[in-house]
């Protein structure tokens, strides 16, 4: 197994863990955390392909990860603001109970 394959396997497992968490946990914050883990698994893929790929001097993977981290930060901020707004409205942060379309 080459180092690249090791990285990709780690990233696949991380993605699976994040996916499982995001799908199965009831709490809204943990769903967000699961999505963050999935994003980071993708970032690890980018870095691994940049490091062991053909043209590391082009910095494509690094750039992608930098932008991805910035987007993840924005996503976390908006997502957590949503969680707080939902909590304020429904008095719960359990995703299963938040199903009313009418306020």
């Amino acid at each position: 197994m080459s180092p690249l394959q090791g990285c990709l396997l780690v990233s696949a497992l991380l993605f699976a863990i994040g996916f499982a968490g995001a799908v199965t946990r009831r709490h809204a914050i943990l769903a967000l955390v699961g999505i963050e883990l999935m994003l980071n698994a993708a970032n690890l893929n980018f870095i691994a392909f940049w490091r062991y790929g053909a043209h590391p001097e082009a910095l494509t993977g690094v750039m992608f990860v930098i932008f991805s981290i910035a987007i993840a930060a924005a996503e976390a901020a908006v997502g957590l603001a949503l969680v707080i707004a939902i909590y304020r409205h429904y008095k719960t942060s359990n995703l299963d109970e938040v199903k009313d379309l009418k306020g």
Partner: protein
């Protein structure tokens, strides 16, 4: 597959699994911090220094704190008594296991992956900065716009609705059915003895 890589990967995956499976949300968020620090270490192991440090700065310094604040603001810091998993948790785990099996099979049997290990690329912060300012200047500007929009949006979403007092917003509630305590009804003798026993 060096030893440091294996150790860091194990720690990262273990922390990620803990973050997704612990009952207490604060423990989850702390495990999440460990997972992201481990990912930063993986980036450093892959010679991506700038990205590793940025990962620590953004995830440990900012996002983890945001999550912690959100946990405390939604009053979910205590260990819940009811189930933490959604009713259909089995299907979710089955699907994610299937995803992992598929991805793992693809990675291990792929012939497109470069087999030889190239030497560590020489990247400096200067290179990254120059690339950001020349080739990637448009994405950079868009990211700046996105961050501003996200910040304003987050503030507006989390803002308390205007014109409502705390009482109307439902934060302060007076339970009218409850009997008034203290002065009018002196505590009963059982309460007194209960207090002293």
């Amino acid at each position: 597959m060096s030893l440091p890589f294996l150790i860091i990967a194990f720690v990262t995956l273990f922390a990620a699994a803990a973050a997704m499976s612990l009952r207490n949300l604060v423990h989850c968020s702390l495990a999440f911090v460990v997972a992201f620090a481990g990912l930063a270490a993986l980036y450093l192991n892959l010679d991506a220094q700038f990205v590793g440090f940025a990962q620590i700065l953004v995830y440990v310094g900012a996002i983890a704190i945001l999550i912690v604040f959100a946990i405390l603001l939604t009053r979910s810091g205590d260990t819940p008594n009811e189930a933490v998993l959604a009713p259909g948790w089995f299907y979710g785990i089955a699907v994610s296991a299937a995803v992992f099996t598929l991805l793992g099979w693809a990675v291990l049997s792929s012939s497109a992956l470069p087999k030889e290990v190239s030497s560590a690329p020489q990247t400096t912060v200067k290179n990254i900065g120059e690339a950001l300012m020349n080739k990637y200047v448009l994405p950079l500007e868009i990211i700046g716009l996105l961050l501003t929009a996200a910040m304003i949006g987050a503030v507006i979403i989390a803002l308390r609705e205007p014109g409502k007092t705390k009482m109307e917003a439902g934060e302060l509630k007076i339970d009218k059915t409850a009997p008034p305590s203290s002065i009018l009804h002196p505590p009963s003798s059982t309460a007194l003895t209960g207090g002293h026993s």
